[in-house]
Symmetry: C2
Subunit: 252 residues, 2 copies
């Protein structure tokens, strides 16, 4: 009969076997696409010296519209159109509105550029862990990007949610019958990928991205034994290999 | 030891225990909201005698945009704006574009009106069956409507997909480990709710809605022992009670 220790080793309590990835700016570049589009929008509307005012107004309209339109390219586009109407006091030309809609179509069709190391990391970890994508935003945009990323087959589950709240994570874990101790979330947003995950008793790895949408910025810094930060996604396999029971082992 | 028949009775092979509902125009009214908005759009753009031409153009733009924007209010709104620009040769006023965006905001905030019998049917069946919603469209719109419908708690799983293809249904059944023989789909669209479901070996109940978006119309008529049609959703519990093993029993 195996000793208690043997049994413990076999079932590996506390072992993390489910790794969930955020998608935008964690697996592939996303924010630069919005930044570039916003620059084109600013050029369309005004002189260079006005670009900060345009950007401020656009952000104000986006925030106002989030509860109506949610995240994603279509909501962003409707916000650009409204901003253009407001800033020109309704004098924007139809052909310029058409250009803004064309920006949207180009954004949706833009190639999906993987982050350095993302492909290798996902391929390597899929051999040892059950992988998920948990991303927020527009269902249609996100499905299209996952398909075009070429990474889709490595993931056992793909969850697209409208907001990454604690409740959203709890619902996903319940649905797939995953205990929080088995789960680690990897992403670039402290607000969406880290804090709500730590709050429900799971582990989280922050991989900062070079630029961040102002709406995702947050002052609170995560802390605790279940929180990790790496510089790039290529470091993830070593982190997981070194600490298979992360929440018990403390920070690296 | 129980006889083979007893065992058979106990485990009830072939019994349908998972009932999935489409949402728009199956549980609550949806198409009239688009129809009313389209009428307001036509009034905004032209004279009554032009309304058919406007409607035809809008449908053409919507079809062209489906692969870029998917289904839902935001895509519909971008299509209305493009139609307005094309039909006015770019002369549409900014304030009229703003009115179109305001239509979108009103659509998103519109009360969710349940179909007659939907509440009672769902409440009654949730006691005996595992219920799901499988709906296509914009994640943000659909989640908001499910929340406002007051029906959400009756459903064990809610799946929002971008297209209701055979593959989409297969993926959902695999994910929840449901054999097709246990599954019945209830909806108003032959194209989205019935044909792909019959094709994967599950059963389907068509509940026609009074009006249908032209894009959902289809000439092919479903047939076979696993296909049923009822006049209103209130008839569903009796259908399921009378035929717990529908696919074996043939049409009612």
């Amino acid at each position: 009969m195996p000793s208690k220790n043997d049994r413990r080793k076999r079932t590996r309590p506390g072992k993390i076997d489910v790794v969930a990835f955020d998608a935008d700016d964690t697996l592939w570049h996303n924010e630069p696409l919005f930044t570039r589009t916003q620059q084109r929008f600013q050029s369309l509307l005004g002189l260079p010296q006005e670009s900060e005012a345009i950007s401020r107004k656009l952000y104000e309209v986006e925030l106002r519209n989030l509860r109506h339109f949610g995240y994603g390219i279509k909501g962003f586009t409707l916000s650009m159109i409204e901003t253009a109407i407001e800033l020109t006091a309704g004098r924007i030309a139809g052909r310029d509105v058409q250009k803004i809609i064309d920006f949207a179509r180009e954004m949706i069709a833009a190639p999906v550029e993987l982050l350095d190391g993302a492909q290798q990391t996902v391929a390597r970890l899929s051999a040892s862990h059950s992988l998920m994508i948990i991303t927020k935003g527009d269902l249609f945009d996100q499905e299209s990007k996952i398909a075009r990323s070429g990474l889709g087959d490595h993931f056992r589950h793909i969850e697209i949610v409208s907001e990454k709240t604690e409740q959203a994570y709890v619902a996903i874990l319940l649905k797939h019958k995953i205990r929080p101790e088995r789960f680690i979330m990897v992403g670039n947003s402290v607000k969406s990928d880290i804090l709500p995950v730590l709050a429900i008793g799971a582990a989280a790895v922050h991989v900062p991205y070079s630029t961040e949408w102002i709406h995702e910025k947050i002052d609170r810094q995560p802390e605790g034994d279940s929180f990790f930060r790496i510089e790039n996604i290529g470091q993830l396999p070593d982190l997981l290999a070194a600490r298979p029971d992360l929440p018990r082992s403390g920070a690296i």
